[in-house]
């Protein structure tokens, strides 16, 4: 069903910014709420400046079943009635808008900073000291209630973030997650680009998702310039995206095994993950795919010898990871820790707008490769892998299903590699355009939105990492769980801090 008052378009299609309907805030608000109530997801909700200090709200709505996107907008002043009051999906987005632009979504139930940075305009003084995580945390009162604070520095080689638990004994009543320690100012710095740093920003938005974010960004830029990507380059991009998924999913299965003390799978997967990373390095010299995805195509071509070697290695990789994963499913002590731990019901997933593995593990059938296919995925479909338990087991098992399907996809692609060049001639970006690019990264839906200015440069760049949707899912998964299960639940989501903090 098309969103009323919105213009409908496709993933990776640029439209004239003038075509984006500008509504009054009230109609904008009710249109977003109605769309969400009818099953649509908010892929992005943000404010962008439109010269002379005017601010415009944009909502990008994803219709998963129709495979179309809708966008609508409204000009706002200093305050507007919060969307989140009647549409939970909007809550984190509106906190972000309030923090970036010092405007107030009135009635927002939970208005706090998400990254702790000086606003882009107005509000507090620019030189006021930043105090990350200094805010009113949700508190549970009671004689036997206690609070546990963890982070920003965690006990491991992981990114920083702060977790605040309200507990009754071992039982977690509430977990509140406070991030922003990784904020590097990517969106701000991207404005006015693209320049020679832009591609490095997107490659390192989340360094474990280099291929995913860079593909999303390149699709966006290509939509502005009308630059085609050759079939060969599309195949190589898709292979790289699936290799990234394989490496990370395998690493996650190992990490989950490690967290329940099951060392065989933990140590096997630690190694096999590296084998997948090395396959990416075979193509481009870098384990994370740096330099591989470039606007207009890919930076490295492969020879027949490379393809043969990849096919061999991928077969061996599948064999190894099958042995490691099957140990998990056949070990009762592992299953008893995975099953029924950190359950997120499908209804909660929908309300919060969760994406990717956690959503599919709860039974939500949604995968950009299937619902909003671009590039090679328009011709070669990857079935959506779902489970219905929504617990740690479900999230682990969906990864295992996806591993098998990614391997099958890569094998098919290697067997029918199209010939031809890997890049096309650069073209200038068209001025005054609006475009959205979605890519199913290994964590879930990656969304890049941009508007070009009168000179064709990026006037605004909005990045939504899947983690931006999903951190709240982790908080919900912890409700009524034992605090000792936090590491396990956390690994089962394995969200990005820098992808969120930007």
């Amino acid at each position: 069903m098309p969103v009323s008052n919105a213009i409908s378009f496709y993933n990776g299609q640029a439209i004239d910014t003038k075509q984006v309907p500008v509504l009054d805030v009230g109609t904008f608000r009710s249109s977003v709420i109605d769309a969400a109530a009818s099953g649509m997801r908010i892929a992005a909700l943000f404010a962008a400046p439109l010269g002379n200090s005017r601010l415009r709200l944009f909502a990008v709505l994803a219709d998963d079943s129709a495979g179309t996107l809708g966008v609508l907008s409204a000009d706002v002043g200093e305050r507007y009635p919060s969307v989140a009051v009647d549409c939970t999906q909007a809550h984190w987005f509106e906190r972000e808008i309030a923090e970036q632009w010092s405007i107030v979504p009135e009635g927002h139930p939970w208005l706090k900073p998400v990254r702790f940075h000086p606003p882009y305009r107005g509000g507090r003084r620019q030189d006021e000291p930043i105090t990350p995580s200094v805010m009113d945390f949700f508190k549970v009162a009671g004689e036997q209630v206690h609070e546990v604070a963890v982070g920003p520095v965690h006990a491991g080689i992981i990114e920083p973030g702060h977790f605040r638990f309200q507990c009754h004994g071992e039982q977690v009543l509430n977990l509140e997650i406070s991030l922003g320690y990784q904020h590097r100012g990517v969106e701000r710095a991207s404005v006015g680009g693209p320049n020679k740093r832009t591609v490095h920003y997107v490659q390192t938005l989340a360094g474990d998702t280099t291929v995913g974010h860079t593909t999303a960004y390149c699709q966006l830029i290509e939509s502005f310039s009308g630059r085609n990507v050759t079939p060969r380059a599309q195949v190589l991009r898709a292979i790289a995206l699936e290799l990234e998924r394989l490496a990370n999913h395998t690493g996650d299965l190992g990490a989950l095994a490690g967290d329940v003390g099951y060392l065989p799978t933990s140590s096997f997967c630690g190694r096999i993950r590296g084998d997948f990373l090395n396959m990416t390095a075979l193509i481009c010299g870098n384990r994370f795919g740096r330099g591989l995805i470039v606007p207009g195509g890919v930076g490295f071509d492969v020879t027949d010898r490379h393809c043969e070697s990849l096919a061999e290695r991928i077969a061996q990789g599948l064999k190894d990871v099958t042995v490691a994963a099957n140990l998990l499913w056949s070990t009762p002590s592992v299953l008893s820790r995975f099953e029924d731990t950190g359950r997120v019901p499908i209804q909660t997933c929908r309300e919060l707008g969760l994406v990717g593995v956690p959503a599919r593990a709860s039974g939500v059938e949604m995968d950009c490769r299937f619902n909003f296919p671009t590039g090679m995925y328009r011709f070669a479909q990857v079935p959506v892998s779902t489970w219905n338990t929504g617990d740690v087991f479900g999230r682990a098992y969906v990864r295992w299903l996806e591993i098998q399907r990614s391997v099958a996809f890569i094998r098919d692609q290697l067997a029918s590699m199209p010939d031809g060049p890997i890049t096309t001639q650069a073209k200038p970006l068209s001025p005054n355009r609006f475009s959205v690019s979605l890519v199913e990264g290994w964590r879930g839906e990656i969304c890049h939105v941009a508007l070009t200015g009168p000179d064709g440069g990026l006037m605004h760049h909005k990045i939504v990492d899947p983690s931006f949707h999903n951190w709240m899912g982790l908080a919900m998964a912890l409700r009524d769980q034992q605090i000792s299960d936090f590491p396990l639940c956390n690994k089962s989501f394995n969200l990005s801090y820098c992808g969120h903090d930007l």
Binding site: V153, I157, A189, K196, A206, G207, S267, G270, R271
Partner: protein, 252 residues
């Protein structure tokens, strides 16, 4: 019980031969860049113009590459009309001082070992606390793999520990966002003396591609005294391991 044992047999022995044997690196690996000055055209600055982080400089006819800023993206080599710049497959990049990271010519100054006293303390057992301060999780991931069976860091007596109080030093990644500065300083203060600091990746050394963003501190420089720099974006695990082993004089 029989299944895990069978699986164990199938997975085999996987630890790399390095440092006794040569490491296996990808064919297209971009390691230490090398400049052939005789090929460099007098008034050309295309490489420096292409560099996203100003790692490449040309002054008085001499080309220099600051490995502490280099992202190893190869943009300079691609821009050069005379192929004067080449990214070799040399994975040894670590240095003990910031100046040692600046490549002028073919002379390579690799990291020297700690002095004897420090080696007596840390040479056989070095416990490090890793602090990610704005790292994108690539430096972190390729540090983490050192603890897998592939690299088996434990065989050198090096271990990443959970508490700074148990550590002999910090291993820092990321450009140090303003939001992480205090946490980094506090973690450093919690490490007992004498302590080491290892800055890993372009971000931690110089801010990387985030250099001069008001949101970051351009790495650890000026915040903590650094004992070892490991360049790369991210450095290959072998580059990190090589740096650590050089510091401890364990390569001999």
């Amino acid at each position: 019980m029989i299944k895990p044992l069978w699986a164990r047999l199938q997975q085999g022995h996987r630890t790399v031969a390095f440092p006794k044997g040569e490491p296996v690196l990808p064919e297209r690996f971009r390691g230490r860049p090398q400049v052939e000055l005789s090929k460099c055209l007098a008034d050309c600055t295309r490489c420096a113009d292409a560099c996203p982080t100003e790692a490449m400089r040309k002054a008085d006819g001499a080309l220099t590459i600051d490995l502490g800023r280099c992202l190893f993206c190869g943009a300079c080599a691609e821009a050069c009309p005379t192929e004067a710049i080449e990214f070799t497959r040399d994975y040894r990049l670590a240095g003990r001082s910031r100046d040692d990271l600046v490549v002028h010519d073919r002379a390579v100054k690799l990291a020297e070992a700690l002095d004897q006293k420090a080696r007596r303390l840390f040479g056989r057992s070095l416990k490090l606390r890793q602090v990610c301060a704005g790292g994108c999780n690539a430096c972190e991931a390729d540090t983490n793999v050192l603890t897998t069976v592939v690299f088996d860091l434990g065989r050198f007596g090096i271990q990443f520990v959970a508490s700074p109080r148990h550590a002999d030093g910090l291993f820092v990644t990321g450009p140090v966002p303003a939001n992480m500065k205090l946490a980094l300083e506090k973690t450093y203060a919690a490490v007992p003396d004498p302590k080491l600091v290892i800055a890993t990746g372009a971000c931690a050394i110089s801010g990387g591609c985030y250099r001069d963003h008001p949101e970051v501190c351009n790495g650890v420089e000026g915040i903590l005294p650094v004992d070892l720099y490991i360049p790369g974006c991210p450095p290959h695990p072998i580059t990190i391991l090589d740096g650590l082993l050089r510091l401890l004089d364990r390569l001999g």
